[in-house]
Symmetry: C2
Subunit: 298 residues, 2 copies
Amino acid sequence: MNIGKLTIIGLGLMGGSLAKALKAKGAVDQVWATGRRSASLVRGLELGVIDHWTLDLAEALRDADVVLIATPTLVAEQVMADIAPLLDEKTILTDVASVKGNILRAAEAVFGALPPRFVLGHPIAGSEQSGVEAAKTDLFVDHRVILTPLASNDSAAVQVVREMWQCAGAEVVEMAVDEHDAVLAATSHLPHVLAYTLVDALAASGSAADIFRFAAGGFRDFTRIASSDPTMWHDIVLANQQAILAGLDNFADHLQMVRGLIAEADGPAIKQLFSRAKQARDEHFLGQYMAGRSKPPR
Amino acid sequence: MNIGKLTIIGLGLMGGSLAKALKAKGAVDQVWATGRRSASLVRGLELGVIDHWTLDLAEALRDADVVLIATPTLVAEQVMADIAPLLDEKTILTDVASVKGNILRAAEAVFGALPPRFVLGHPIAGSEQSGVEAAKTDLFVDHRVILTPLASNDSAAVQVVREMWQCAGAEVVEMAVDEHDAVLAATSHLPHVLAYTLVDALAASGSAADIFRFAAGGFRDFTRIASSDPTMWHDIVLANQQAILAGLDNFADHLQMVRGLIAEADGPAIKQLFSRAKQARDEHFLGQYMAGRSKPPR
């Protein structure tokens, strides 16, 4: 595959890593980047991640073959309104946002309907670091990218976006928009909300210092995601509000059921539930390990 | 410090590691072990972790200076009844159970009141492995051991138990029984219940395979403790029932408050809560790191 001109709107870890990966494979001729401020663009050029930058959106989009929106989730909605009057119908548009339903609704509001060559995507990859300085060629290797095309999408455009991510080393899968948002709410967004909530509940209690003082390794692992970027997670929670509320309610119901078992001291049922959960988790991660997708399970 | 005869009831990771640590320091003359089955006792002798074993409880206790109950939590209650008629009043008795209130209540039921030389203790240390084969000399180094003595305890006995754990490399702190159980419920027992509950809720949902298939690193960390031993955690949940229910209710209330913020799309309040939680967690683990108590925080 070859992309003549790739334009990244919002140059950071994700866009920068894609640019490096495609350049390393010789799969792109020119990488352009644009954004609201020049700092990351200047840095990206210095690092050789991109070839050109401009603050002029029209120049950035002109003759672009593929445009990647890689801004924070809530900014992406505004970016669509900005690019709508400038977008050539031949240009393929895609994005990396963690939630797809709000992007689809915003696109429908801006364009009337999802443009056939706008392919919604979500690479499931990240790092504790952020910014274009942290970009790395292999960020997407052996990671999944979920595309959520509609029936109205141009299949040639979907194929280009698919090959672009495969070229960066990712496994590309397709999913419906609603299914994507529900799955991510369950496996990622809800756990973040639970971890933030637990740490905040403990920090608010009178004996917080003692509580944290005696926290051990299990607590450290369990709450690691509560050290994630609050602004990014605020965006995600607002963007995926309905799926997160549904997941939260399902979890809260399950927790009340478990509370009932503990209150009744129903030992056999408690042991059965804990065993079932351990088995599900062990099989999942052991399965990934056996398939060569991950490090040995812990 | 020197212990003439140390007897371990229930030889596994905890008792075996204490025996190895004390032997390495020359702080014990003879280590005996007893239990219901001989397998781990035979193995402990082969490995040189202990010097003698017997299935005869009376022989194990005879002239013992310190007796350590290191069986699973719920078994410990029965062990007390078994040793009550055999225990010399000069012998110091201690334990390693993760919950202290149920041990205290069981001791009061068996003995009428907590014997002055029965010092309740809880080393906050563990390993993913278990059994006497996994015992290691440095298991308790730089870990905390919480003792929960009552006013009626013999202060000389408390001092011996304190020095025993210090000799094994631990930092010994004292706490009230109720406080210990509330702190451990919040930092350890409740997180385990939440992790088991989340994994079970997801496993029970129709699209479980998809959900686990797209789980990423954050989910893996968050649910690691759901791979813990179900039997051990069943014991702990039953032993610390009231404190866990109180912690669970406090968490569930906090979660409903957070649900309200998400339902109202109250962005500023959500960001403030996430930021507060991140700060509390980062400060705690960074504080431990700065004090040289842990590896660099993640």
